[in-house]
C-alpha cells in the first residue's frame, strides 16, 4: 500500500497491481 499525506480531510491511498502484462497504479481518493 502506498499513501500520500492527508490534505483537506481527504485520504489518498494507492496500490500497483499487475493487470495481465501491464501495471496499473490504482489510486483511490476518499473523505477522511
Amino acid at each position: 500500500l502506498i499513501t500520500s499525506s492527508i490534505k483537506h480531510n481527504t485520504l489518498c491511498v494507492a496500490s500497483t497491481v499487475r493487470y495481465k502484462s501491464k501495471y496499473a497504479t490504482q489510486i483511490l481518493y476518499g473523505p477522511l
Partner: protein, 314 residues
C-alpha cells in the same frame, strides 16, 4: 482524383481492420495510473483532485456496493452550476454535495443521465469505438471482473482522443487520407450555436447542456471565430467560486484559463484527414473549427465526427 479516392477507401478499410484486430487493452501503456474517487467524497473536493492531477474526468467507486459507479465528467459540474442558478438559495447544499448526490441533481434538472456504458478490455477496439459513438460519450470505462471475488475492476477509461492518437501512431495508412474535408461530409455546419464575447457565461453553459455539445464557438460582429468556450472551462469557473456572478460574460469567464491552454485549432475545407490525424498525433486537440480564408466560422469537426467517418463511411 480517382486514385486519391481509391487510396482513401483502401486506407479507411485498413484502419478499420486495425481497430478490429486490436483490443482496448492494447491501447493501455505498460504502466499507468488510474485515479478513482469514492462516491462519498464532496463534489468540491473532487474538483480540487481533478485539477491537481490535471484531469477532467474520473471513475467513481461505491464502497458500499463494492462496485464501479459511473464516471465523473464536466457534464456533472455543468449540472451543478445550472442547479445553483435554478436554486440560488441552495448554496450551502451545493457546498455539502457528495458525488453520490449528483444523480439527484440530474433528476431535479430533468437532464438525462449520461449513459456511459462500459466494455471489457479484451473486446475489439472497434467495439469500444462503436459503443462510444452510440452512447454519445467521449470516453468509455474498461471493466473486468476480479477472478476470485467476481467484483468489478475499473481497469482504465479510454477516450476518443486516446484511440485516434493510437491510430495516428500505429496506422501508416493515415497518410493516404488525402481527400479534401469538403468532400467527406464530416463538418457540422455553420448553423451550429455560437455566441459573442459579451454573452453571459450562464447562457453559454446552458447551450453546452441543452445541445449536448462540449464547446461553443465565440464569434465577432462579422462572424469571424475569435475563441471557444469548452465544457472543461467550467471546472475553473467553479474552482474560482465565480459561477454565482450572473453578470459574468463568457469573455470574462475565459480569463480563468491557465497559461498551459494550447489554443483553439482551426482548419479549412481544403485540409485533409491525413494532416488532421498528424495534428492529433502531435498535440492534445479535441476538435477543429472550420473557417474560410477570412476567418469566418463555417463549422466544426469533432473527434466523434472523425471516428464516425473511420468506423462507418467509405
Amino acid at each position: 482524383e480517382q486514385n486519391i479516392q481509391l487510396e482513401q477507401k483502401l486506407a479507411i478499410q485498413s484502419i478499420r481492420n486495425f481497430l478490429k484486430s486490436k483490443t482496448s487493452y492494447d491501447v493501455l501503456p505498460v504502466s499507468y495510473r488510474l485515479i478513482v474517487l469514492d462516491t462519498s467524497l464532496l463534489v468540491k473536493k473532487s474538483l480540487n483532485i481533478l485539477l491537481q492531477n490535471n484531469i477532467v474526468s474520473a471513475p467513481l467507486w461505491d464502497a458500499k456496493t463494492s462496485k464501479f459507479a459511473g464516471l465523473l465528467t464536466s457534464t456533472d459540474f455543468i449540472n451543478v452550476i445550472q442547479y445553483y442558478f435554478c436554486n440560488p438559495d441552495k448554496f450551502d447544499l451545493i457546498d455539502k454535495l457528495q458525488l453520490n448526490g449528483l444523480k439527484d441533481i440530474e433528476k431535479c434538472l430533468g437532464v438525462p443521465s449520461l449513459d456511459q456504458g462500459s466494455i471489457h478490455p479484451f473486446k475489439p477496439l472497434y467495439d469500444a469505438c462503436v459503443k462510444m459513438i452510440e452512447s454519445r460519450s467521449r470516453r468509455i470505462p474498461l471493466i473486468d471482473q476480479d477472478e476470485e471475488t467476481q467484483r468489478e475492476i475499473i481497469v482504465s477509461v479510454l477516450t476518443q482522443y486516446r484511440i485516434l492518437k493510437f491510430v495516428s501512431l500505429n496506422c501508416r495508412e493515415t497518410r493516404f487520407l488525402k481527400r479534401k474535408i469538403r468532400e467527406l461530409n464530416i463538418v457540422t455546419d455553420a448553423s451550429i450555436d455560437s455566441c459573442y464575447m459579451t454573452t453571459p457565461v450562464i447562457d453559454v453553459i446552458q447551450m453546452l447542456s441543452t445541445r449536448g455539445v462540449s464547446s461553443v464557438p465565440i464569434i465577432d460582429e462579422h462572424g469571424r471565430l475569435v475563441n471557444v468556450y469548452e465544457a472543461v472551462d467550467v471546472l475553473g469557473l467553479i474552482k474560482g467560486g465565480i459561477y454565482n456572478d450572473l453578470s459574468l460574460s463568457v469573455g470574462e469567464a475565459l480569463m480563468r484559463r491557465g497559461d498551459d491552454f494550447e489554443g483553439v485549432y482551426t482548419c479549412t475545407v481544403e485540409d485533409k484527414l491525413s494532416t488532421i490525424m498528424d495534428t492529433i498525433r502531435k498535440a492534445r486537440v479535441h476538435r477543429f473549427f472550420v473557417v474560410d480564408g477570412s476567418g469566418l466560422l463555417q463549422g466544426v469537426i469533432t473527434l466523434s465526427d472523425i471516428l464516425k467517418y473511420i468506423l462507418f463511411e467509405e
